[in-house]
């Protein structure tokens, strides 16, 4: 061991002894003031951004505190460098960072959008920006101060000497990680690109602070999804019955037991109970059909088995006497009902009916106007106009693509899409919902009140079956068009009036039961466990009951309650996803540049952008969700991490050996 190393080691030990002068306890007040100042600055900035003007009072307050801090720094400049480079100072910053990070894990993050600032005094989380702490000014300020401290501590030592190489690598490495992270934060880009097979896109939706925004970032190239493969694991496990113990506030309870179902006859006992579950019947791919059967009970109504066929579409069902099922063929309003043909009142039902209506009340007015889709209406006071663009009976919106649609034709969640154009010609889309305050759109939207008036069902095409008279009639628009006797099993061609012209439907009465009751027929379509179902018997000796249940894995009857807070459920054990692969083409000006496959853990990199397989949609096999990232600081950050690893290893393993060989004692 050289004399130089020995003296370096000895000097290092002396430095450690001197660190005792700057203990963590003495650093806390100064760091607390520093942190508090940054919190105040951010609040002032947030308030300015919200009101677009400077809050004079708080700003002055911040300036005064900062000036006092600067005065203190100047006065303490001689000991400042020593303090900055001390272990105690750096450790105190680490403690502040640790506490902030821990607090951040206990507060839901990124719940506050950048355009909705939290004011002073709302609560502690708002006061300290804890709900977005990792993007807060004070967290960044602590990281910056830590980096400064690390640089000073390195410069205080002869870092060019081999003895200090580990120290240099570890401390500078950490600074480099912070620099890399900062570069990524300031200059990096993150976003989402959702594609369907055959679709291409030359832009992505920007993600800021973890939130998907409306902003689209264009690219110099386009990505086209040529194909999307979902590979699933082979069926490893049979379907199973699961018993859950439901606990309050537990959203995803764990099963307390499971039972693989391969055939009828197996069973199990629920742990810690005497509940026995016996599998009576097992259907790997269950089909449940409701049918009617003849009964001796003369109180039961008659029933007719009907078949309707139009083109390649066929509908088959039981018509129960005394009821009017609403049965649609091609969703075009063809109904069949049971009744006496002598009673002509039924013809009126093909003429009555009213469509849905939309009423809008303009701001400052008590009068409502009837609006229609496709029409434009002026806004009073020459403030522009609005256009009714579309009506969605059952409104849904894709939060990623921001596209609206209707889940069904039923008015379950009616919404009117309008476009408002103000006097400056600026356009803004809004979605109106019934109710004075219901609207969806950006702020400063036109406050319109929307009232939805549902229409009455208009039965335009109606067949009335007189089972007693063995004849039927077809009516349209209040007129009887066709009447005919029928024979069981013999089809009759009926001419239907349609908007697209006259069409023919084949009407057949297959069977008539004088007194009928409903019955369920359960069968299996195949031996493949696509939609397994079981008929189980649940019994308990202590509670003296026995009951049966039909559980269908992919249906509304997938579970049943079997005891206090105990649920029995059928699980299909769908094949789990093994991989998602997006086969893409990179295009520039329509020309193919390259083809690639993107999978999880196998991204595509092109022109600084990286495309990651993020997600897929089980219900849409042609959809692929990609995450886009561009991070100029990633190489820097990883270089820093490597340096930290190497430096920590050297400092903690090699340097002590050098000291030992130099015969230098550790600091006492």
């Amino acid at each position: 061991m050289t004399t130089q190393t020995a003296s370096t080691a000895a000097a290092d030990v002396q430095t450690e002894k001197k660190n005792g002068l700057t203990t963590p306890a003495r650093q806390v007040p100064g760091l607390a003031v520093f942190t508090g100042l940054l919190v105040l600055v951010q609040h002032v900035w947030v308030e300015h951004a919200a009101k677009a003007k400077w809050p004079v009072g708080p700003s002055l307050f911040v300036v005064v505190i900062a000036a006092l801090g600067l005065y203190w720094l100047i006065r303490a400049r001689n000991s400042l460098v020593e303090r900055l480079g001390s272990a105690g100072f750096a450790v105190t910053i680490l403690l502040f960072l640790g506490a902030a990070t821990a607090a951040g894990t206990m507060t839901p993050q990124q719940m506050t959008r950048p355009d909705q600032p939290v004011g002073l005094g709302d609560n502690l989380a708002g006061l300290l920006f804890l709900n977005d702490v990792f993007h807060s000014l004070w967290y960044a300020g602590l990281l910056g101060l830590l980096s400064l401290s690390l640089i000073v501590t390195v410069l205080q030592r002869p870092f060019w000497k081999p003895y200090y190489w580990g120290f240099l690598l570890a401390h500078c490495g950490l600074v480099i990680v912070v620099v890399g992270g900062s570069l990524g934060r300031w200059y990096g880009e993150t976003g989402r690109m959702n594609l369907r097979v055959g679709q291409s896109s030359n832009s992505f939706q920007v993600i800021q602070r973890g939130i998907i925004t409306d902003q689209a970032k264009p690219l110099d190239f386009a990505l086209r999804l040529d194909a999307f493969d979902v590979e699933k694991y082979p069926h490893k496990y049979p379907p199973r019955l699961m018993v859950f113990q439901m606990k309050a506030h537990e959203e995803n309870p764990m099963p307390i037991c499971t039972h693989a179902v391969k055939e009828a006859g197996s069973g199990f006992t629920v742990p810690n109970t005497d509940l026995k579950v016996q599998v009576k019947e097992f259907y790997p791919d269950i089909q449940v059909t409701d049918t009617m059967v003849e009964t001796n009970n003369t109180d039961m109504p008659p029933s007719a088995e009907i078949r309707l066929k139009e083109g390649s579409e066929e509908a088959h069902y039981w018509l129960v006497g005394g009821f009017s099922p609403h049965m649609a063929l091609h969703a075009s309003g063809l109904d069949v009902e049971w009744g006496d043909l002598k009673d002509t009142e039924w013809l009126n039902r093909t003429k009555e009916g009213r469509p849905a209506r939309h009423w809008i009340t303009l701001p400052g007015s008590s009068q409502s106007i009837l609006v229609q889709v496709g029409q434009s209406y002026p806004i009073p006071g020459d403030k522009g106009q609005f256009t009714v663009q579309a009506f969605y009976p059952d409104f849904r919106i894709d939060m990623e693509t921001r596209e609206a649609s209707s889940a069904s034709d039923q008015p379950l969640n009616p919404s009117l899409q309008i476009e408002v154009q103000n006097e400056k010609g600026e356009r803004q889309r809004q979605y109106l919902f019934p109710g004075a305050e219901g609207h969806m759109g950006k702020e400063n939207a036109l406050e319109l009140a929307y009232r939805f008036e549902a229409g009455s069902a208009q039965i335009t095409h109606l067949i009335r079956l007189d089972g007693a008279g063995l004849q039927f009639a077809y009516a349209f628009d209040g007129r009887e068009i066709f009447r005919s006797p029928f024979e069981l099993g013999k089809p009759v061609e009926i001419p239907l009036e349609r908007a697209s012209g006259q069409r023919t439907v084949e009407f057949t009465v297959l069977n008539i039961l004088q007194h009928a009751q409903s019955e369920q027929i359960t069968s299996t379509l195949s031996q493949e466990p696509r939609n397994p179902g079981v008929r189980v018997e649940i019994s308990s000796e202590s509670q003296n009951f026995s009951t049966e249940a039909l559980l269908i894995a992919k249906g509304e009857e997938s579970w049943t309650e079997i005891g206090p807070d105990l649920i029995l459920a059928m699980d299909a054990r769908d094949q789990e996803v093994k991989s998602w692969k997006s086969h893409v083409s990179v295009l520039r000006d329509g020309q193919l540049i390259r083809k690639a496959t993107i999978a999880v853990n196998a991204p595509l990199s092109y022109e600084g952008y990286a495309f990651y397989q993020s997600d897929a949609d089980e219900s849409d096999p042609n959809y692929s969700g990609l995450r886009v990232a561009k991070d100029p600081g990633v190489g820097v950050a990883f270089a820093g991490m490597i340096l930290v690893c190497l430096g920590a290893t050297y400092t903690l393993y090699v340097r002590p050996r050098l000291r030992k060989e130099a015969g230098v004692e550790e600091a006492a």
């Binding site: 450690e16 002894k17 660190n19 005792g20 203990t23 963590p24 272990a87 105690g88 750096a90 450790v91 680490l94 403690l95 960072l97 640790g98 990070t101 821990a102 951040g104 894990t105 206990m106 507060t107 839901p108 993050q109 990792f134 992270g181 993150t190 973890g210 694991y233 995803n252 099963p255 037991c257 499971t258 789990e576 996803v577 093994k578 991989s579 998602w580 999978a599 999880v600 853990n601 196998a602 991204p603 990286a610 990651y612 397989q613 993020s614 995450r627 886009v628 990232a629 990633v634 950050a637 990883f638 991490m641 490597i642 930290v644 690893c645 920590a648 290893t649 903690l652 600091a667 006492a668």
Partner: protein, 281 residues
Amino acid sequence: MNGQSQALAIGWLVAGMAAYALTTVVGLAGEVSRALVVRRIGAACLTLATLVNIGALVALGVEADRAPFKTRYETLFLYATCIALVCLLLIAMHRLFILSFFGALGAGACLFAAYCRPDLESELLPPALQSAWFVPHVVTYFFAYAGLFASFVLAAMALIKAWRAQLSPATASIDPDVPIPYEDAAHKAAIFGFVTLTFGLAMGAAWGKSAWGDYWQWDIKENWAFVTWLAYLTYLHLRLLPNWRGRRALWLNMASFAAVMFTYLGMNLLPTAQDSLHVYQ
């Protein structure tokens, strides 16, 4: 999972628990008697128990048809193995025979926890976990946790020794069979744990980048891993300060281990846990 392979894994688990239970008895006897031969038998028992534990881990892997590091149940097997291996290493390097007892106690507790709440069946790996980083990242982390467990135990021993020395200086003396003080041993174990944590953290960042496009997402698990790393970084630095070395640093060491346990097992308690990509189901 078929019934036969599940029974095999459970069988190895029970054998492992029994082996660790025997080791705790022999290890404790060695510390009470201070007889070198008993201590060596204790170390031998720990070696045997470790081999059984490794067998259990292998059986679990065969049953799952992959590296068994996905669920809490599986990682408890791994953690027990790592604790035993790290303690054996410390026994070999520094004659810290007391770790026969504590190592067996810790590893046995892990296996017992696994036995109390087993997986109903083995799970398949989702796409994100099918990565070359899966095994090295997880294994590195559990070796780090094992080193920090050993450090925690040795720190506790050092504090107990110091407390007994206060009460009865004549009878409480440094164990002549142990060449280094417990405090020093705790520090060395913490160094191993911290360095391994650092590598594990870097590997996790690399994996996150390749899987999700972001090497740091301020995910809850990542944050607590960071807090744990900061805690031990703080301990290692504060130990350099004259008025912190000794009891204060030892207490800080033990408190930092609480962060390890919270990161590993306690995160599910957080109201924000469901937001994490790492939470065990």
